[in-house]
């Protein structure tokens, strides 16, 4: 394990008093607390580091060991090590932890695992004379898919906490979208209802299209002659190729809309967005002498 400079983590020097440590820790905690930095992994990591530093430095015994042994301070006393392992995250003494509840970091707060329900799972409910019913814990999962995979409704089997769950992924789901599957979380306590399964989609674009909601966008190269004289080109769409007529004298940057060739609309069967193509006219290169002559003639015709 690499040496972590806890003093540096808290932004204090080695001569800091207990008061300085407390002050520095509180300032850092306010800045990096995961509840005020939602979906910020970097802040979450920093918060854990700050907590770990505080747990060590706020305890005079541990601080002394840390100052003496550096990164090996944990091995200075096996008994203390056993005590520290009861702590959370990077290992700390729960009694030194100023946080009454352990934090369930990241994600959607509304769907975080609840300490309260978690405790009930631990058996607290069973100790009561008249046990209360509690809803089961919510499960959170992230599903990585490619854009082509969400073009059509797909069936998947997910394994969440050892359970296989058959899932229908409706076509048109968006990147970052979350769906809640009611009753697919953990079992309730004392006959309480089951929790929910929250799935967040992480969609990677594996196509040449740019997706904005239900519409797709693409820049399409066409040659000069087709642009000038018009013609028919073959265009790739998400569901195969289509033939497209290019009007004569099409200008560079012109946009055309292919109605219904975009992305499916989420949970709206057979409804699709549009595909917008922007023409980019490619000028010919490596002209032959004959071609050059012809272009010269053309330019003379235009200027005369």
């Amino acid at each position: 394990m690499d040496f972590i400079d806890y003093y540096k983590t808290l932004g204090i020097d080695k001569s800091a008093t207990e008061g300085d440590i407390k002050k520095a820790y509180r300032k850092m905690a306010r800045k990096f607390h995961p509840d005020v930095n939602p979906n910020d992994k970097a802040a979450e990591i920093k918060f854990k580091e700050v907590n770990e530093a505080n747990e060590v430095l706020s305890n005079p015994e541990n601080r002394k060991k840390y100052d003496k042994y550096g990164k090996d301070w944990k091995h200075a006393d096996q008994y203390e090590q056993a005590g520290r392992q009861q702590g959370y995250g990077g290992g700390g003494n729960q009694q030194q932890n100023p946080f009454g509840q352990s934090y369930q970091g990241g994600g959607n707060q509304e769907s975080d695992f609840s300490d309260f329900f978690g405790s009930m799972f631990g058996g607290a409910g069973g100790r009561r004379g008249n046990p209360s019913k509690f809803r089961g814990q919510d499960f959170n999962a992230e599903l990585k898919l490619n854009l082509t995979e969400v073009y059509k409704t797909d069936k998947r089997t997910l394994t969440v906490n050892g359970k296989n769950i058959r899932l229908t992924i409706p076509a048109g789901v968006s990147d970052g979208q979350e769906i809640k599957i009611k009753g697919y979380g953990a079992d309730g306590v004392n006959g309480g209802p089951k929790g929910d399964l929250n799935i967040k989609f992480n969609i990677t674009n594996d196509t040449l299209f740019v997706r904005d909601g239900k519409n797709l966008y693409k820049t399409l190269d066409i040659n000069l002659y087709t642009a000038l004289l018009g013609g028919t080109i073959t265009v790739d769409t998400m569901n195969g190729q289509v033939k497209l007529k290019v009007a004569a004298e099409t200008q560079n940057g012109v946009k055309v809309k292919l109605k219904g060739k975009g992305f499916p609309v989420y949970k709206k069967e057979d409804e699709f967005g549009d595909l917008y193509l922007t023409y980019q006219i490619i000028l010919p290169k490596d002209l032959t002498d004959q071609e050059k002559d012809l272009f010269v003639q053309l330019s003379k015709l235009k200027t005369s």
Partner: protein, 98 residues
């Protein structure tokens, strides 16, 4: 109204080791909703997650109910802005590719 899906505030106070006055304060600020069932205060189970977040802010960072309300409002605005930024980024990609 039945007790199903509702948790007694007294149970929550014991579990989280918080004073009833704090829960009442959160209710007064419109952050949670306490309902009375058979003359005892209860909270719906769906509010447990946000309540835990409020209690963490209170216990970890010493923020009172008004402060928590302010933070929640700012976080909501922050979330809206993040969504908007994501949409705008997605739109920007269309023009970057041209």
């Amino acid at each position: 109204m039945t007790k199903e899906n509702y948790i007694p505030v007294a149970t929550l106070c014991t579990f989280y080791k918080v004073e009833m006055s704090l829960i009442q304060d959160l209710d007064d600020n419109g952050l949670i909703k306490i309902i009375q069932i058979e003359n005892a205060p209860f909270i719906h189970e769906d509010l447990i997650s946000p309540l835990e977040k409020m209690l963490r802010l209170n216990q970890d960072l010493h923020i009172n109910a008004s402060g928590i309300d302010t933070i929640f409002n700012l976080l909501n605005r922050f979330e809206d802005m993040q969504k908007e930024m994501k949409t705008l980024r997605s739109r920007l990609r269309i023009y970057e590719n041209q």
